[in-house]
């Protein structure tokens, strides 16, 4: 029996209908809008001016702080404007608009398909290359990777986990990446392994992707023959269960270690990186290619043509939809990401960002929420919660705004996976209220920490 995490979780229907679609590059649109806030942390600061000509891969915005990232031009052309534009959720974000002219890349970028297995840079240089490449965690949180690779002093990393679970239904971009760019992912893994100074790295893949597991198992011995740098990398097949791709759940599944409330994965000696991030690291370090594109699954039963597309960052969503045959008539909801954790898109004029992993089209029947009824205290939500919380308790506390009680009941540990909402037979929008309460409590905790820091400084 394959391993999995110890508590909670649900088994939503797989629905990976785009799994056989190979990743195809999307033609470059006429105009792209590249947001300067594509990552967690401070927004980047534009370093180009209106009227400048830029090439593919040229940095156009620099980090606005330590936890921030470089942004690069994904196309070649002229900067037309730097102005706020509405993002996927309709909120205005500063965007750099570039009118596309041709497809001219920076000379320093290696565009060939030749696999470069040898890396000789020292760790500092590698981290700097990753930082310069604007690499962020592509598993969903878009946390700047170079920050994650600089563990706080005193913490020792024992194992690197490459997250290939893709436990969300419908999503197939990581799966396709493993199949088509497996070698590059392994090289990226070896680079990350060296930077973190660990001997073991585990590529964790759920058992519903046997082709990917078989391919990696065939690949790894070949890679080991090339260099000793590839020793210690293994594949682990995990039982299918959502939310296995959650950082803390994955560590539990792979290492049988639990990250304490408020702790970081490094506290238990683990660092988790996504498959797509490993590929981005390979590109940045071996090919000098920053993140300018990412693979996006476009899917949904009602969508005419399933696809896994290689999309330039900043491509308007409408352009992608038009390319694949237009907006399906039955679709009523478009989700950025998977159906469990993805966010509904309210603005189709918005452009993609680095973290856009999927566009999912759902029909009225699939998406409409049933009317809410009373909690019958069945406890299914508490059973499903992978963080061991009690959503049936948190929900009324959240609605009453009882922040002290919420904090005592660890609302800040919620990973917003949606298992509670998924399993509730009374259709109570548990996650809606809990997510909001979590944000509120996190704000209080941050304010408290800042106050404590200020007091200590005095």
């Amino acid at each position: 029996m394959n391993r999995t995490f110890s508590i909670g979780g649900v088994h939503p229907h797989d629905s990976k209908i785009s799994r056989e679609c190979a990743i195809e590059p999307l033609p470059i649109p006429e105009t792209v809008w590249i947001s300067v806030a594509q990552h967690i942390g401070a927004p980047a600061k534009p370093i180009v001016a209106v009227g400048d000509t830029v090439k593919v891969g040229q940095p156009i915005a620099e980090p606005g702080g330590f936890v921030s990232a470089y942004i690069h031009s994904s196309v070649s052309g002229t900067v037309k404007s730097i102005a706020p534009r509405k993002d996927l959720a309709g909120n205005a974000q500063l965007c750099i608009e570039i009118q596309v002219e041709g497809d001219e890349w920076l000379e320093s970028i290696d565009r060939s398909d030749i696999l470069k297995t040898d890396f000789t840079d020292d760790n500092k240089a590698i981290v700097e290359k990753i930082r310069q490449g604007g690499v962020v965690g592509l598993g969903g949180a878009t946390f700047p990777t170079h920050v994650k690779l600089t563990p706080p002093p005193g913490k020792v990393c024992e194992r690197l986990i490459i997250n290939g679970c893709e436990c969300e239904p419908y999503l197939t971009s990581d799966y396709r990446t493993l199949l088509e760019k497996g070698r590059e992912v392994v090289v990226g893994t070896a680079i990350l392994k060296q930077v973190l100074g660990v001997d073991t790295a585990t590529i964790a893949v759920e058992e519903n992707k046997p082709e990917a597991i078989a391919y990696l198992n065939k690949l790894l011995p070949e890679m080991r023959k090339i260099s000793t740098k590839y020793a210690g990398i293994s594949v682990m097949s995990l039982r299918k269960r959502y939310p296995q791709g959650g950082e803390k759940q994955l560590i539990d599944a792979v290492m049988h270690r639990q990250v304490k409330s408020g702790g970081l994965p490094i506290d238990v000696g683990a660092v988790v990186q996504n498959v797509a991030t490993a590929l981005a690291v390979y590109d940045a370090v071996q090919k000098n290619k920053p993140i300018i594109d990412n693979s996006v699954t476009v899917t949904g039963e009602c969508f005419p043509r399933q696809a896994n597309l290689l999309v330039r960052v900043g491509t308007p969503l409408q352009y992608i939809i038009d390319y694949l045959g237009g907006f399906p008539a039955e679709a009523v909801k478009v989700i950025s990401g998977g159906p469990m954790m993805g966010k509904a898109i309210s603005n189709l004029d918005a452009a993609t960002v680095k973290g856009t992993s999927a566009l999912l089209f759902l029909t009225e029947k699939q998406t409409r929420r049933a009317p809410e009824s009373n909690c019958i205290r069945c406890g299914r939500c508490a059973e499903a919660c992978p963080m061991g919380l009690e959503p049936f308790l948190l929900n009324p506390l959240a609605r009453a705004g009882m922040t002290d009680e919420l904090e005592k009941n660890a609302v800040q540990d919620c990973i917003e996976c949606g298992c509670c909402l998924y399993s509730c037979p009374a259709n109570i929008p548990l996650l809606d209220s809990i997510r909001q309460a979590k944000a509120q409590v996190m704000g209080i905790l941050r304010a408290r920490a800042a106050a404590a820091k200020a007091a200590a400084g005095k």
Binding site: A89, G90, V332, K343, A344, S346, D432, S433, Q436
Partner: protein, 313 residues
């Protein structure tokens, strides 16, 4: 027999006295000295415990008011000047009269004027909705319509208008405690002075987007044309981030800005007569014409004496 009774009485008396002395000592030792005025102040408070004053409740307010050297930082918005006079009388302080305030909803985006561009079927809470996305209309600043303000009001002064989808303030019930303003995640509700006989003017929009974008999202929004600012002769209109704001301390209620507002974003309430926009516009135009003539005359007068000087030279 009688001896037993005597002994019993004697022992009980001694015991009672002893315990009384112990209790007296304890009472003296652990005495909590509380200013009796706290109770008096609390008695005159409205007792709503709404927290509108910034304290945890009426008792906390009374406690703080008694300890404070003056009443500058203490004001009960619910009780208003009347209650504050009583509090001042008890504490022997002076208290400044404050203009009575009222909650004002600064969004005019009715269902008709501001069409929805998507459906929201999550939890009916503005807070939750605001945390998720910009809202179900094209305007990312306006009312979300889930009624968090209505739920926050302990005085029953707010209700949602089913036709417009916007909250309505009942002036007679509103105590300006500010709970609704705090509850609104978009910061639409503002506490403004009630004004003479309840007459007041305000810009009923907080959209900071630029004109064309605003116009697309909502027909009743402030589009930032700044016509009102140019019209106002009292300097009461402040223009910032593409949205006008009427400073209530400077506004003279002349309604000229209202007449010129192309979208009807400027609201005037409790005026006895409806606005005769044409007359006001004519009046302003006349004034401008006269001012222009006066300016031309002044210019001519300035230039006129200059010529003779030239001749003399």
């Amino acid at each position: 027999m009688s001896q037993t009774i005597i002994w019993t009485i004697a022992i009980l008396t001694v015991l009672g006295l002893l315990l009384a002395i112990i209790l007296w000592f304890i009472a003296e030792r652990f005495k909590v000295v509380e200013d009796p005025r706290i109770d008096e102040v609390e008695k005159v408070m409205p007792g709503a415990n709404c927290g509108g004053c910034g304290f945890a409740g009426c008792r906390a307010f009374a406690d703080s008011a008694v300890k404070a050297p003056n009443l500058d930082n203490h004001y009960c918005p619910v009780g208003g000047n009347e209650v504050m006079q009583k509090v001042a009388a008890i504490l022997g302080h002076e208290v400044k009269e404050k203009a009575p305030m009222v909650a004002v909803v600064r969004c005019n985006g009715t269902c008709e004027a501001r069409p929805t561009v998507n459906d929201y079927d999550g939890l009916a809470s503005c807070k939750v909705k605001a945390a998720l996305y910009a809202g179900d209309t094209g305007c990312s600043f306006g009312c979300l319509g889930c009624g968090d303000c209505v739920n926050a009001c302990t005085f029953g002064a707010l209700s949602m208008d089913p036709v417009t989808g916007l909250p309505v303030v009942d002036e007679t019930k509103c105590t300006a405690c500010g709970a609704c303003a705090k509850a609104c995640p978009k910061g639409i509700i503002e506490l403004r002075p009630k004004g003479p006989r309840g007459m007041r003017m305000y810009v009923s929009c907080v959209n900071k987007d630029k004109g064309p974008a605003v116009k697309k999202a909502c027909a009743n929004a402030c589009i930032g044309c700044s016509l009102c600012e140019k019209t106002c002769t009292h300097g009461a209109i402040v223009f910032e981030n593409n949205v006008a704001y009427i400073d209530p301390s400077k506004c003279k209620l002349c309604r000229e800005c209202e007449a010129f507002c192309p979208t009807g974003a400027i609201h005037a309430v409790n005026f006895p007569k409806p606005l005769d926009a044409a007359a006001v516009k004519a009046r302003v135009q006349e004034r401008k014409k006269k001012a222009a003539e006066a300016a031309a005359a002044a210019k001519a007068a300035q230039e006129a004496p200059a010529k003779p000087i030239e001749k003399e030279a």
